[in-house]
């Protein structure tokens, strides 16, 4: 199956483990991901504050225009990129005024988008195109007994205000994938709660509280690790875990995985190809407990 692939800026830096493990997993699954040629930053949600919503969505639409000639669905892994691309695409298709405004902006750069593409989150593709049965069949080393908090994150499930991808309040698709890999999703009411997003520099107390709540809920429900598809959720739960422990006097020790890192483990891919070296909370103890060689 061939797709146009939008990595986004984070996947090439703070979320590098995601890109590395996605490459390994897509190879194993025969997913053909062709990077959108010369793609640009989607602007996250923060740049709209500085340049305005329309300019930001129009900039995002450049990526849609560049991907359209290939004619394939676009796959996005980063939840914030997905929010912007899926929303720009949806609005382009359903809002005639927006369509003409964005077309005018793209036209100024000699580009054109016809609205012929679908923008899909990686989780959607894994569940609906690859299929849970296939993921299960491909699993060589089931993650049996591993208790996981499935942290979908907020923007992942709320990007499109159309509810045919996952439940906006109680997302389930990530848990289904984790189950297919043989692991056990723990009850996790914080699955779609906000981690505080990009407020790490601007309001760190927000991260302490919001990410703190996510960690607390995971620990309370017996999780040994957290899995997420979102680079921002990953950063806040993994990189900020020590900082949250310091400020709140807690003692969490929860390795945080990108979804594709867990899939790769279950597929028995080489751990060195799954980017564990980028994880701040070391997964070594967890791996030892479950007889996984890192």
């Amino acid at each position: 199956m061939a797709y146009s692939f939008y990595p986004g800026c984070s996947m090439e830096a703070t979320g590098k483990a995601y890109l590395v493990s996605l490459e390994a997993v897509s190879h194993a699954l025969g997913l053909e991901l062709k990077e959108i040629p010369d793609w640009n930053c989607c602007g996250a949600t923060v740049s709209a504050n500085a340049i305005g919503d329309l300019p930001q969505l129009a900039m995002t639409a450049r990526n849609l225009a560049l991907a359209e000639p290939a004619g394939n669905d676009i796959v996005v892994g980063c939840s914030s990129c997905y929010l912007n691309m899926a929303w720009a695409n949806e609005k382009f298709k359903t809002d005639a005024r927006f369509r003409s405004q964005v077309s005018e902006a793209l036209g100024a750069a000699g580009l054109k988008y016809e609205g012929g593409l679908r923008v899909r989150h990686l989780i959607d593709v894994l569940v609906n195109d690859i299929g849970l049965d296939n993921l299960k069949a491909r699993t060589i080393k089931p993650l049996a007994g591993m208790k996981i908090a499935c942290y979908s994150g907020c923007q992942t499930v709320r990007a499109i205000r159309r509810r045919d991808f996952d439940n906006v309040e109680y997302p389930v698709m990530l848990s289904r994938i984790v189950e297919a890999l043989g692991a056990t999703p723990v009850p996790f009411p914080a699955a779609a709660r906000c981690c505080g997003g990009s407020q790490q520099f601007t309001r760190v107390e927000l991260i302490h509280e919001l990410t703190g709540y996510v960690l607390e809920t995971a620990a309370k429900n017996g999780a040994e690790a957290i899995v997420t598809p979102c680079p921002m959720c990953h950063m806040n739960t993994d990189v900020y875990q020590a900082e949250i422990n310091r400020v709140k006097g807690t003692n969490y020790y929860l390795p945080v995985f990108f979804l594709t890192q867990l899939i790769g483990l279950a597929f028995d891919l080489k751990p060195k190809d799954l980017g564990f070296s980028f994880n701040v909370v070391s997964p070594d103890k967890l791996f030892a407990k479950h007889n996984i060689k890192n």
Binding site: D38, D53, C194
Partner: protein, 201 residues
Amino acid sequence: MSAANEQASRFDPGFAREFYALENGEYAKLCMQCGLCAVTCASREFMDLPPRKLFKLVQAGDKEAVLQSQTPWLCTSCMTCTVRCPRGIPIIDVMHGLKYFLIQQGSKAPVALMSKIFAENMLRRGRVFELALTNSFFLKAYGPVGAIPIALKMRSVGQPMLLKGRLPLKPPKKIKGLDQVHKIVKKATEVMKREGHQDGV
């Protein structure tokens, strides 16, 4: 002037019209004060005004309270309020419009600074260089000397980021179509301003 008159003089119906003319500002008209956003918001405990109250004050024309509120700066764009609002108000988009306005007015809020630095960084190469983003923010927010104690306080975050290779030292390559991005943003800004006037009440 009595206290009651002073209170009354704060309200300016002109401000409500000004607000509705902002990008996405017209949605604020739709708020019926049900309060679902207020109980939903992840950052509500940090907010001085829940979104519900902010919209009420917009409708009443309390310019001072709206412009000084911390609420827009605490919005993390998690979209929970947006998917739950029974009137279908895209609340995060309204917040974007308000923040854009406040930034144009010269706001000194940390998120205003962050948003500007992010946009500049992104428009320099077409992709974001996260290390430069971090450095520019701290230097501009605290100055070269002031940034040191912050960096020390946050070393449990910064050190592993660098040691684990999560903040590459090399910037991403400039995209080939950078000029296209700039033209798109320029044209869309013109369109936004043009449409903004048409939307005004």
